[in-house]
């Protein structure tokens, strides 16, 4: 290798590194920028229905003043899962700009059961990971919960049920046609 060649490889390496840092930083920066509630509700589909309804719930205002925003429940915290979710989100762009199949509240209602089912499935698959970023059975003081909550939570721990099994519709209204389910099989309605 001549001196000039050496210099060349070195500079390519340096430029590559700088470029990498910039791109990487920019990538993470956009990742952060698109991970805010403001970004989510910049689309009217997200603002008109999900955001409107969220404001009536305990995750918006409560006695402790801790608020859960859209990404808290819908976007994973871990980097790998976050990137995967972001790639999936390009589908939302497609539906927003091209398909426009939920661009009015009426159309949103019509497709809502399907969308909700996607979310339920995603949460079931991850064992309600996003809920568990804030909530944890280990940190719950069952003595301070309502009896019916404490009893069911003990049952959930014993049988490995996950939050979304029992807590559907905590952040938005439930879709029309939703049939409640109870984890661990349903009672047959007959007396024991």
């Amino acid at each position: 290798m001549t001196k000039g060649q050496k210099k060349g490889t070195l500079s390519i390496l340096v430029i590559g590194m700088i470029l990498g840092v910039v791109l990487w930083g920019g990538f993470n920066w956009t990742l952060e920028l698109t991970n805010t509630e403001e970004f989510c509700i910049s689309c009217h589909e997200m603002r008109d229905t999900p955001y409107e309804e969220l404001q009536d719930t305990i995750h918006f205002t409560n006695r402790t003043g801790v608020r859960a925003t859209c990404p808290d429940c819908h976007v994973p915290k871990e980097w790998v899962y976050k990137v995967i979710r972001k790639i999936k989100a390009s589908n939302e762009l497609y539906h927003h700009f091209v398909v426009k199949d939920v661009d009015t509240p009426e159309k949103f209602e019509a497709k809502r059961l399907e969308l909700a089912q996607h979310v339920w499935k995603a949460m079931k698959d991850t064992d309600s990971r996003e809920c568990r970023n804030c909530h944890d059975f280990d940190s719950m003081d069952f003595d301070r919960q309502e009896a019916r909550a404490a009893e069911r939570h003990q049952e959930a721990i014993d049988n490995n049920y996950t939050c979304i099994d029992c807590h559907k519709g905590i952040a938005h209204h439930l879709p029309e046609g939703y049939e409640p389910e109870t984890p661990g099989g349903e009672g047959d309605g007959e007396e024991d």
Binding site: T57, E146, A147, R148, G169, G177, Y178, P180
Partner: protein, 158 residues
């Protein structure tokens, strides 16, 4: 001569105007402050002070009671022994039936709505909640630990 007469006339006119202006403003003042007249009339409110009745409201929380509240009489819609702010009753869904319907009540350890809730107006038994019983909170209410304003010695059905 003519000049001084005119001057006098003008002075008189001005004094008159001033008097009218004072009288008018006195009248306006009197009308604007009816309290002066009110002093002699007793208020319907009596000795009760307006400020005294606007004390800070006592904050009472919804009570959760295991086993429920006792009923005061037969056929009383039982009181709700838990919080209900999470559950919505809309045209699409009835949040109460997530626990109180036939399919789920056992798992949820909740009492099943009674049979009367499935009877339609014409007396037929339905397999879903009757529209006459759809709006649960029309008859059932959660309870707060509010002290009765008037002493009451009524004893409920035991």
């Amino acid at each position: 001569m003519f000049h001084s007469q005119l001057h006098e006339l003008m002075e008189m006119k001005m004094k008159k105007r001033l008097a009218i202006a004072i009288a008018a403003s006195g009248l306006i003042l009197a009308m604007g402050t009816p309290a002066i007249a009110g002093e002699k009339v007793a208020s319907l409110r009596g000795a009760h002070d307006l400020v005294a009745t606007s004390l800070k409201p006592i904050k009472a929380k919804v009570i959760s009671r295991e086993g429920g509240f006792e009923r005061s009489y037969k056929q009383q819609p039982p009181m709700i022994p838990h919080k209900i702010d999470k559950y919505r009753i809309t045209i699409k869904n009835n949040g109460c039936m997530k626990c109180h319907d036939e399919k789920h009540y056992k798992k949820e350890r909740a009492p099943l709505v009674s049979e009367s809730h499935f009877i339609a107006r014409d007396g037929t038994k339905l397999d879903h909640i009757s529209s006459r019983r759809y709006f649960c909170t029309q008859c059932h209410a959660p309870q707060k630990n509010a002290q009765p304003l008037v002493k009451n010695e009524f004893e409920g059905l035991k």
